[in-house]
């Protein structure tokens, strides 16, 4: 899988683990990959995300907002707990495994381009339910437009 990725895409997956660790997560979730994508300056995915207002800072806020909304639904007041960073090698969560599987599948159907950041973004954004679609909905971002913006520019 990694050998099919562009250097930027590989950076994003590695960085996703750092983001997950800093957030104290036990697994790398697709939202961590999304933040990593937003941090890789000069890539079509980063430009598309920034164009929709989705900077790393804004994405972190949206994730916090999504978590708070979900806790409130369960009747829990979302008080802030101290974040304990996790260490070591983290596994991919189901959400990011599905994402990477979709990215590989799309690269096999496409014109042999391999997996670039635009394909990663499409695979993340195509997720139908879960944290990523919820935070995009909270931000009022149109997923199809986001994909088009990323794929309309060359990496």
């Amino acid at each position: 899988m990694f050998d099919r990725m562009t250097a930027d895409a590989r950076w994003v997956v590695g960085r996703g683990q750092d983001v997950a660790r800093a957030a104290g997560a036990t697994h790398i979730e697709s939202e961590h990959l999304l933040i990593a994508l937003s941090e890789r300056d000069g890539t079509p995915a980063q430009r598309a995300l920034a164009g929709a207002g989705l900077t790393p800072k804004r994405l972190a806020e949206l994730i916090a907002e999504e978590h708070a909304r979900s806790l409130r639904f369960a009747g829990v007041e979302p008080s802030v707990l101290p974040t304990t960073p996790t260490r070591g090698s983290l596994r991919f969560a189901t959400s990011s495994k599905s994402t990477l599987t979709r990215a590989v599948a799309s690269s096999q159907k496409g014109a042999g381009k391999g997996i670039d950041t635009a394909r990663l973004l499409r695979a993340i954004v195509e997720q139908e339910t879960g944290t990523v679609p919820r935070l995009l909905a909270l931000a009022g971002v149109d997923r199809a437009e986001l994909i088009a913006a990323a794929e309309g520019t060359k990496e």
């Binding site: 369960a74 829990v76 304990t84 339910t129 919820r134 909270l138």
Partner: protein, 78 residues
């Protein structure tokens, strides 16, 4: 949003997401409170009993991190 799409912020999606959020919160609270207990001198067995899990389970899950954050675990092998 089109009619044939799921409502990502509707009641059903909120309900399922609340389960995810509660699991995450439970993990965070376990990390926080196990560390507090061990810093306060509780034994692995006491913490395990309080959590309703085995001593081995709580040790496997937390020992490495507690050592890394500087909790003194010597003479706590009970």
């Amino acid at each position: 949003m089109r009619d044939d799409e799921l409502d990502e912020l509707g009641e059903i999606a909120d309900g399922l997401a609340s389960v995810v959020a509660l699991r995450r919160r439970a993990d965070q609270m376990e990390t926080l409170h196990v560390e507090r207990a061990m810093r306060a001198g509780w034994t692995w067995s006491q913490v395990a009993e309080a959590l309703g899990v085995t001593r081995q389970a709580v040790h496997m899950k937390h020992a490495k991190r507690l050592i890394e954050v500087g909790v003194d675990l010597r003479r706590r092998n009970v």
